[in-house]
Structure formats: structure tokens, C-alpha cells
Symmetry: C2
């Protein structure tokens, strides 16, 4: 995966679990989000039985392929391999990126979460393809996300590694998405700003439009 090719895939990164919302399945939500222009999709499911995750994940992967959008699996490299995903996203407690790479090979995308400069350094040393930096703003989606850190770390990381690929994550919505891009991120990763909206397609379009106004 070349950096500039990956950078183009990061503007609007949807992170989703498998839960329904207002009668819509996760698959339905992802379909609408893809129609709205989402550029990358991550399945982050922590509660379901893995047999169900494999089944639902395969359907989401197919949808992503139809749209030419990378499909990423959170944490579990074994699940990523079984789903023939385009990559994994790992947190600091998960498999180190270098170990994940041994199993996935060079052609796959490996993203790493970072909430401090030390974590970013470690991720870069481990060969992360992109960083997921946050939680930028307060979020209710991820209980263990920690206190919001604002956009300062994004700016610091961009200064330290100007060529880094990076998305901000945590509490991002149309109203604050510009700040994240202005600080130096290539895109925003969102959960509820798309999955918990009445119209995920429109929510994705709105986010993309707001970010474009920055440039």
C-alpha cells in the first residue's frame, strides 16, 4: 500500500459495530454510508459471537468491494485473515503492528490508535500505515476512549512526521470536522456521526461537504 494511495482513502472513515439502529441492520447502515461517500470501513465488534461476526463481516466486506472501499477489521488479525479484509486496525493493547504484519503481509493496511506522542512513536516504529489519533472530542461510543485530547496531538504528529497518514477519531461531527483536517489529519473516523443518524447517506455527504470547505 503506497502512502499517497492510502491517504486518498482516509477522508471519511466509518467505524461500525454490528448493532442495529432504529430497525436498520449494520449492513443496511454501511450500504447507505457507502452511498454517501464513505472512503474506508472498519468493523469494530467486541460483543458478538465470532461466528456471527464472520458472517456479517463477509457481507460488509462484499459491499465495500462493490464500492471499491477498503474493509478493515479491528483488533483480530485472525478474523481479518478469514474475511480476506484489506487490513486491521489495532489499539495499543492489541497485537503490535509489526506482529500483525507478519501474518497479513506487506500488501495490507495496518492502522494503529494513538492517544499520546509516545503511543504515536511506538506505532510509527512498528510500521503503522496510518494512525488513528484520539479521542479528539468527548465520545460516548467507546467507553475506554479516555479524556478528549483536542487537535493538538494531530498537529504535533504532523509536524514530527509530515508524510504520516492520519485520521482523527472521537466525537467528530460536521461542526468540528474542519478543525481536525486543519490540524493536519487526512480524514476523520466516525461512528455515531453516521451510524446513529436517521439518514446515514446524508450524514456522510454532510461530513464530506463540511471538510471540503476547509481546503
Amino acid at each position: 500500500m503506497f502512502k499517497e494511495q492510502l491517504r486518498g482513502l482516509l477522508p471519511l472513515y466509518l467505524v461500525t459495530d454490528l448493532s442495529e439502529y432504529e430497525g436498520k441492520s449494520a449492513l443496511h447502515i454501511v450500504r447507505e454510508a457507502l452511498q454517501g461517500g464513505v472512503t474506508m470501513v472498519q468493523l469494530r465488534e467486541k460483543k458478538a459471537q465470532l461466528r456471527d461476526t464472520l458472517q456479517a463481516g463477509a457481507a460488509i466486506r462484499e459491499l465495500c468491494r462493490e464500492h471499491g472501499v477498503p474493509f478493515i477489521v479491528n483488533d483480530r488479525v485472525d478474523v481479518a485473515l478469514l474475511l480476506d479484509a484489506d487490513g486491521v486496525h489495532v489499539g495499543q493493547d492489541d497485537l503490535p503492528a509489526r506482529e500483525a504484519r507478519k501474518l497479513l503481509g506487506e500488501g495490507k493496511i495496518i492502522g494503529v490508535s494513538a492517544g499520546t506522542m509516545e503511543e504515536a512513536e511506538w506505532a510509527m516504529e512498528q510500521g503503522a500505515d496510518y494512525l488513528g489519533v484520539g479521542a479528539v472530542y468527548a465520545t460516548l461510543t467507546k467507553g475506554d476512549a479516555g479524556a478528549p485530547i483536542g487537535t493538538g496531538l494531530i498537529a504535533q504528529i504532523k509536524e514530527r512526521w509530515p508524510q504520516v497518514c492520519m485520521v482523527g477519531i472521537g466525537g467528530i461531527h460536521p461542526g468540528n470536522s474542519k478543525e481536525v483536517i486543519a490540524a493536519g489529519a487526512d480524514g476523520v473516523a466516525v461512528v455515531s456521526a453516521i451510524t446513529r443518524q436517521a439518514d446515514p447517506k446524508q450524514a456522510a455527504q454532510t461530513l464530506l461537504r463540511h471538510m471540503k470547505e476547509t481546503q
Copy 2:
């Protein structure tokens, strides 16, 4: 893995996490347990950062190899692959055995937990090499183990599949280990009966002696 070869590896199956006990590291405990005659070792660590699990797991794997004892990883097939483990043990919520097999290949051991006949049937259909049946007795080690089921299911499984490889797990100690073998299990899987004893080596020897008296 041929069934009769595997059966010989099941008599005393140690399941351990990475926690210390009375100043002894998990590695130290496993070493003493191996000296006491443990025939198989499973690393079931749910809390540690995976980078630490990989490091400690590699040391335990080496110890097991020195003793010619299989080293099994709980749940995570990716970790098993990275540690070049001899197999995985999966619960009903984990990767199905058939999926794990795709990643691990035919030469590795795949065990599956079963607490009901339905779960045992599913595990057998999925190509499990052995079943871990329980919780046989009340246990404090595994919070989600469910109510104890006694040895009845072991006997039923043995009747249904006479050639099955099977260990009982959950609350087993020298005093009740014979019942588990008498019901039809090839061995017992224990956690605290070895890892939480002052002398793990002696604890293992005592368990083996008690079980021999059954035969």
C-alpha cells in the same frame, strides 16, 4: 494429529493465565507444573496487553517444547500463529473450529469447550480434535463458566462418540478427579488446582496419582 496420540497428551492439562501467585511468575509456575508431569499447557490470558502475552507466551512455549508437551493458546488464532503454538482452544463465542483450522492447518490441535450436548455436537461437526467439557464442578477461576454440570455430560458424550478425546474442566482437584476419568474423560484440565498451590509440582503429581488409582 492422530486421535490416539492426542489422547495420551490429555491426562493432566494445565490452563494458566500470566498472573503471579505468591511471588512466583506464571513461567515459574508452569516450569514446576511440567516437572510434576503436566501433559499439556494452555495459555488463557484475557487481560494483559497482547505484546506482553506474546513475550511471556514465547517463554512458556519454549518450556513446553523442552518437556515435549504441547502448548495451546486460548481463543486467539492469530496469537497461536505468532507463537507457533501447537494449537488453539476455542469457546463457543470464539472462532469456530473449522475457521480456526483454515488458518492453522491440519497438523495443529484444536480443542473446543462444550457445556451442553448441543455445544458438543456443534464442536464435533466443526472438527474439534478434543472437547473441554464443563464446568464440571463449581469454580471461581472463570467468572463466566456457568453453573456446574457434574460428570453426566461427559458420560453422555462418551456414549455418543466412544472415540472422542475429552477433558473435564471446572473445579477439579485430587479428591474429585477420579470421578471425571471414571465418567469417560481422558484427562482433567485444571487451573487453580495447580497454579494456586504452594507447590505446583507436587500438586501435579498428586493429581496424576489420584487419577491412576481409578484405572
